[in-house]
C-alpha cells in the first residue's frame, strides 16, 4: 500500500445524499405543545372521506442531523459572501447584514399583513417612504411596490399599458423589444397577450433607429428597453427613441435591471420612459437567496397612475398639525387590480429601505460611479492581456457598469468555448460571468463587477482569465474538461432533460 494521494477533493468524495435518504422511521425533531383543549375524534369534526389516510413521507430525523445536513449542503454552493461573482445583469453587490437585522425585528417580521392600517403605521410609512425614494431615483412620480420581481414588474407594466390604451378606446397588439432584451421581456409580452416585434441593434450597440422607425405604428403598444442595455452601453439616442414611440402612441417601458449604472446620474423618467421597474434584489442590495426573494416595484408617469395595482399605500396629511396617517387605498376604479396577495414583499422593502438610508442620495450616486469605474477598469485590464485577442469586447466603447466580451476568437483560434472558460474559472475560485447572453453577441461573456468589489479582486479575475487563455494556447483540453475542483464536475443536462427525475421516489 502506498500513501494516499488526493484523487478527489473532500467535497467530491462526499456524495450527495438527500434528507429523505437520511430519514429513519420514528425519529423526529419538533415537539408540539399539547392541544390543551378537550380533544374529540377527528372524524367527528371532519367527515372521514375528506381526511388524509396516511401522512406524507416527510423526513424523520433529529434536529442536530437536520442542521448538519443543511450546513453541509450549503457548502456546496458558491456564494457572494465568499468570492467574486461578476454575473452580468445580476448586480451581485454586497448584501449588508444590517438589512437582515432590521428585517427580523418583530415589528416587521411578525406583523400580520391584514393588520388594520391604524396599527401598522410604521410599516405603511416605510413603504410610503420607499415609494417616494424610488420615485425620485426613477424620475417618475408614482410607485407601486407590489410586483415581486423584475419579470412581475414587466407584466405589470404591460398590463398597465393595456389598461391605458383600453381606457383611450385603443387596442394594440405589438410590443417592441430590442434583440438584446432579456428573456423575461418577450416572455412577459406573450403572457400579457401581446406579440413580440424585435428591433435591431446598431453598430454602437444601441437601438437601430431606422428599424425602430419602420416598426413603429399604431399597432405598437409599448417599447421595452434597458438603458444602459444588456451590453452595458447607454443608448445615446434615447430621446429620439422616446419621441418615435410616443409619436405612435405607444408607452415606453424601462427594464430597471441595469439601474445600478445610473443612480443619481440619469433618470428613466427624464429619458421619456412611462413605466419603470426596479429590481430591489439588484440595485438595492436585497440578497438573491439562490433565486429569490426579490422585489420589482414599478414607477410610472401621471398618465399611467390611475391604472396602478390595488391596494396603493397613501399618506393623509394630519389635520391641525397632527402626524400624517398612512393607509391602503383599495378604491382605485381604473386599477388593473391585484398582482399578488397582500401588499408585496415587505421584508424586501425593509432591507432596501435600510440600504437606501445607509447610502443616502450621495452614496447611491457614488455607488453608480464606482460600479462604472470598476467595470471600465476590469475591461481595460482584460483588453491588455490575452482576452484582448481571444475575448474582444463586443462593442468597443467605454462601458457603463458592465460589458460584454465575445468568445468567438477563443472558439475559432483556440478551440475553447465560452462555456469552457466559464467552467475553468470555477477552478480559480471565481463565479463566471453571465454566458451566452445577450444572444446578439457570439459566445458572449457578460461581466458586471459591481461597486463593492475592491480592485485586487478585479486584478485577480483578469489574471485568471489570462491564465486560462494561456493554458488554452498550449492545451485546450484543460478548459474543455474543466472544472476539476468543484463539488461535482460537469453535469449531464441532457440526461436530466430526457428522463426528468424531479423528485425523490419514496416508499
Amino acid at each position: 500500500m502506498t500513501l494516499p494521494t488526493i484523487t478527489e477533493t473532500p467535497m467530491q468524495a462526499d456524495r450527495a445524499k438527500t434528507i429523505f435518504e437520511k430519514s429513519v422511521a420514528g425519529r423526529r425533531a419538533a415537539v408540539l405543545p399539547d392541544a390543551g383543549v378537550p380533544e374529540r375524534p377527528l372524524e367527528e369534526l371532519i367527515p372521514e372521506r375528506l381526511l388524509r389516510s396516511e401522512p406524507p413521507h416527510l423526513p424523520e430525523i433529529s434536529e442536530p442531523e437536520i442542521v448538519r445536513h443543511y450546513n453541509r449542503v450549503s457548502r456546496r454552493n458558491f456564494d457572494l459572501d465568499t468570492g467574486f461573482y461578476p454575473l452580468g445583469s445580476c448586480t451581485m453587490k454586497h448584501n449588508p447584514r444590517l438589512n437582515e437585522r432590521v428585517a427580523a425585528l418583530p415589528g416587521h417580521a411578525r406583523l400580520h399583513p391584514a393588520q388594520d392600517p391604524k396599527r401598522a403605521q410604521g410599516a405603511l410609512e416605510l413603504m410610503w417612504q420607499l415609494q417616494e425614494t424610488l420615485a425620485e431615483i426613477c424620475g417618475l412620480p408614482h410607485v407601486s411596490l407590489q410586483p415581486s420581481a423584475g419579470s412581475h414588474g414587466e407584466l405589470a407594466g404591460l398590463l398597465l399599458t393595456r389598461a391605458y390604451h383600453a381606457d383611450r378606446g385603443e387596442q394594440r397588439h405589438q410590443v417592441l423589444t430590442p434583440d438584446t432584451a432579456h428573456g423575461t421581456n418577450p416572455a412577459s409580452v406573450t403572457m400579457a397577450g401581446y406579440e413580440v416585434v424585435k428591433v435591431a441593434t446598431n453598430e454602437r450597440g444601441g437601438v437601430e433607429i431606422d428599424d425602430l422607425r419602420a416598426k413603429a405604428s399604431d399597432e405598437v403598444a409599448c417599447l421595452m428597453l434597458t438603458n444602459p442595455n444588456t451590453l452595458g452601453l447607454f443608448d445615446e439616442n434615447i430621446a429620439e427613441i422616446a419621441e418615435i414611440v410616443h409619436g405612435v402612441g405607444g408607452t415606453l417601458y424601462y427594464d430597471g435591471a441595469n439601474l445600478n449604472a445610473i443612480m443619481g446620474h440619469s433618470r428613466p423618467g427624464d429619458m421619456g420612459f412611462d413605466i419603470v421597474h426596479v429590481n430591489l434584489h439588484k440595485s438595492f442590495s436585497q440578497p438573491h437567496g439562490g433565486g429569490g426573494p426579490g422585489g420589482g416595484p414599478i414607477a410610472v408617469s401621471d398618465r399611467i397612475e390611475p391604472f396602478l395595482p390595488r391596494p396603493q399605500v397613501m399618506r393623509r396629511d394630519g389635520t391641525n398639525g397632527a402626524e400624517p396617517l398612512f393607509d391602503l387605498d383599495f378604491e382605485r376604479p381604473k386599477s388593473i387590480g391585484r398582482l399578488r396577495g397582500f401588499q408585496g414583499n415587505f421584508g424586501v422593502f425593509v432591507r432596501s429601505y435600510a440600504y437606501i438610508l445607509s447610502l443616502g442620495g450621495d452614496g447611491l450616486s457614488e455607488a453608480s460611479e464606482t460600479a462604472v469605474l470598476n467595470a471600465n477598469y476590469l475591461l481595460a485590464r482584460l483588453k491588455k492581456g490575452r482576452a484582448g485577442r481571444y475575448l474582444p469586447v463586443a462593442f468597443d466603447r467605454h462601458c457603463m457598469h458592465e460589458f460584454v466580451l465575445s468568445g468567438k476568437p477563443a472558439k475559432t483560434e483556440l478551440g475553447v468555448q465560452t462555456l469552457d472558460i466559464a467552467k475553468r474559472l470555477l477552478d480559480f475560485g471565481f463565479h463566471p460571468p453571465t454566458v451566452y447572453f445577450p444572444l446578439l453577441v457570439d459566445e458572449a461573456l457578460m461581466v458586471e463587477p459591481t461597486e463593492t468589489e475592491p480592485r485586487e479582486n478585479l486584478d485577480a479575475f483578469a489574471d485568471a482569465i489570462d491564465r486560462i487563455l494561456e493554458e488554452a494556447e498550449s492545451d485546450p483540453e484543460i478548459a474543455k474538461q474543466a472544472p476539476y475542483t468543484t463539488p461535482v464536475r460537469r453535469l449531464d443536462e441532457v440526461k436530466a432533460n430526457r428522463q426528468p427525475v424531479v423528485r425523490q421516489a419514496l416508499a
Binding site: 388524509r52 456546496r76 457572494l80 444590517l98 411578525r110 423584475g150 397577450g193 430621446a239 396577495g341
Partner: protein, 461 residues
C-alpha cells in the same frame, strides 16, 4: 454615508489611469447631456449603521405585531412558530447570497434543496411533479390559469367564491393579459354551491378553481365538486393550505390536476405579507408546461450524483416569447425555509400539527359561538379557521379587542359585502387555550357593549 465600497482616492486615480481617462465623469459622458440629472438626488444623506438601526426600530415599534398582540388573524397567512433552525440555515451566507443556480457545479447546495423541496411538496399534495416555487399564493393561482389555457386551448375559468379574494383578483388581473373569461360560483352555507358549479362548468371551460379549506375556513368536498371539471375536460386546480395537508385529503387524491397555494405557513414569517412563496404541483402530463425553476437529478462527468435546473426549454431565458411563464427571480430562500420547517416537523410532527389545529379550532369555534351576539357564519367542517357573525359593527369590535392586545380576526366585509358582519378567526399552534379564552372574553365584552340589540332585553324576565 455608508458605502460598502473599497476604492480609495489612490485606487481611483490608478484605475482611471489604466482606463485612460481623467475622471469618472468622463465615463459618464456617454449619457447625453439632456438626460443627465445634473443635480444631486433629493434624498437624505447617508447614515451610519447605528442610526439606520435606530430609525428602523422606531418604525417597527409603531406596528402592532404578533409578538406584542395575540394574533387570530389568518386569511391566508398565519402566525405559526418558525423554528430557530430555519433562521440559522436560511441566514447562512451560502444560501442567502448566491444567485439562481446557473452554474450547477458550484450550486449543488441550492439545487439539492430545490430537489428536496419538490419532493416534499409533491408528497404533501400527492401530485407527482412540483416546481421549485413561485412568488406567493395568489399569483401562483394566476399562473395555474396560464397553464390551463396552454394545456386545454380554452380560455374560460370557473372560480369558486370560496377561493381567496386575492387569488381571484390576481387571476382576473392576469386574465386581462393572457385573455380569459372568469365565471364565479357562489357559496352556500360555507361551501361552494355545487349545483351552480355544475351548471357553470362547460366544454369551453379551461379550468375549475377551488380552494380547500376555502376562504371561510370550510373544508370543501373537492372530489365531488371537481367531477364537473373531469366531465368537461377542464383542469381541476385546487388551492390549499399546506398546514392542513397532514389531516385533509391531499388534492392529488381528490382528482386535482394542479395544486397551488400560499407557502407562508411553512417556515416563513408573516413579514406584513411577504416574501413567502407559492407552490405549484401537477400531474406528470403537465411537467413541460410548469412555470418557473425545476431541479432534476443527474450525474457528473465522473458519474457522481448531482442536480441541475432542468426542462429549461420551458423558461424565459431559453425560450423567450415561447416560454411557459415569464418568471425569473422567484423565492428560493423561502422555499428553503419551508423545507427546513417540514424536515423539523417531520412525518409525525406534520400530522400532529394538523390535528392540533383541528382540535384547538373546534374548541375556539364552540367557545366563541356560545357568546351572546356571536354566531357561526356557517357550520361546515373546518380545519384551522372559521367564520363568525357578530351582532355589532365589526370594525369597532376589532378596535376594542385590539385595545386589549388581541387581533381578533379578519373582517369579511370588504371582500364579501354579503357578510358585512363576518369575522374570520384563525388558529395556530401558538394560540393556546388560555389565549382563546382571552379572545372569548374580549370579543364577548366588545359585542355586548357595542351590540345592536341587547340580548338581555330580548329574554323575558
Amino acid at each position: 454615508m455608508t458605502r460598502y465600497t473599497s476604492a480609495t482616492d489612490t485606487d481611483r486615480a490608478e484605475m482611471l489611469a489604466e482606463i485612460g481617462v481623467g475622471s469618472v465623469e468622463e465615463l459618464f459622458k456617454q449619457i447625453p447631456e439632456p438626460v443627465r440629472l445634473g443635480r444631486p438626488l433629493e434624498l437624505a444623506d447617508g447614515l451610519g449603521e447605528n442610526e439606520v438601526f435606530e430609525r428602523l426600530v422606531t418604525l417597527a415599534e409603531r406596528n402592532a405585531d404578533a409578538e406584542h398582540e395575540i394574533c387570530f388573524v389568518g386569511a391566508g397567512m398565519y402566525d405559526h412558530y418558525v423554528p430557530a433552525i430555519v433562521d440559522a440555515i436560511t441566514q447562512r451566507s451560502e444560501f442567502l447570497t448566491p444567485y439562481t443556480p446557473y452554474q450547477p457545479e458550484v450550486s449543488q447546495g441550492g439545487l439539492q434543496v430545490m430537489f428536496e423541496f419538490q419532493t416534499a411538496m409533491s408528497e404533501l399534495t400527492a401530485l407527482p411533479v412540483s416546481g421549485a416555487g413561485l412568488y406567493e399564493g395568489p399569483s401562483t393561482v394566476a399562473s395555474a390559469g396560464y397553464l390551463a389555457i396552454g394545456a386545454t386551448g380554452r380560455s374560460r375559468f370557473v372560480v369558486s367564491r370560496g377561493v381567496h379574494p386575492h387569488s381571484r383578483e390576481t387571476l382576473a388581473t392576469y386574465a386581462a393579459g393572457y385573455g380569459a373569461e372568469l365565471v364565479e360560483v357562489g357559496i352556500e352555507e360555507g361551501h361552494t354551491d355545487a349545483a351552480a358549479l355544475a351548471d357553470a362548468v362547460d366544454g369551453e371551460t379551461a379550468a375549475l378553481f377551488l380552494q380547500s379549506p376555502n376562504f371561510l375556513g370550510a373544508v370543501e368536498d373537492v372530489e365531488a365538486l371537481g367531477a364537473a371539471a373531469k366531465e368537461h375536460g377542464a383542469l381541476l386546480i385546487v388551492a390549499c393550505d399546506p398546514m392542513t395537508l397532514g389531516v385533509l385529503k391531499p388534492p392529488g387524491e381528490c382528482g386535482a390536476d394542479v395544486a397551488v397555494g400560499e407557502g407562508q405557513p411553512l417556515g416563513n414569517r408573516l413579514d406584513f405579507g411577504g416574501p413567502s412563496f407559492g407552490f405549484f404541483c401537477a400531474t406528470e402530463e403537465h411537467i413541460r408546461r410548469m412555470p418557473g425553476r425545476i431541479a432534476g437529478e443527474t450525474v457528473d462527468a465522473d458519474g457522481r450524483r448531482g442536480f441541475v435546473l432542468t426542462l429549461q426549454t420551458r423558461e424565459q431565458h431559453i425560450r423567450r416569447e415561447k416560454a411557459t411563464h415569464n418568471i425569473c427571480t422567484a423565492q428560493a430562500l423561502n422555499a428553503l425555509a419551508a423545507m427546513v420547517h417540514l424536515a423539523w416537523l417531520g412525518r409525525q410532527g406534520y400530522r400532529e400539527l394538523g390535528e392540533l389545529l383541528v382540535q384547538r379550532t373546534a374548541y375556539a369555534r364552540d367557545r366563541l359561538a356560545a357568546l351572546d351576539g356571536v354566531e357561526l357564519l356557517h357550520e361546515a367542517p373546518v380545519a384551522r379557521e372559521f367564520a363568525l357573525r357578530v351582532d355589532a359593527p365589526v370594525a369597532e369590535v376589532l378596535d376594542r379587542c385590539a385595545d386589549r392586545g388581541i387581533a381578533a380576526g379578519y373582517p369579511l366585509g370588504r371582500e364579501y359585502p354579503e357578510y358585512g358582519d363576518g369575522l374570520l378567526v384563525a388558529i395556530t399552534e401558538r394560540r393556546s387555550k388560555e389565549q382563546i379564552d382571552q379572545l372569548a372574553e374580549a370579543l364577548g365584552d366588545a359585542v355586548k357593549e357595542l351590540g345592536t340589540r341587547n340580548k338581555q332585553q330580548e329574554v323575558p324576565a
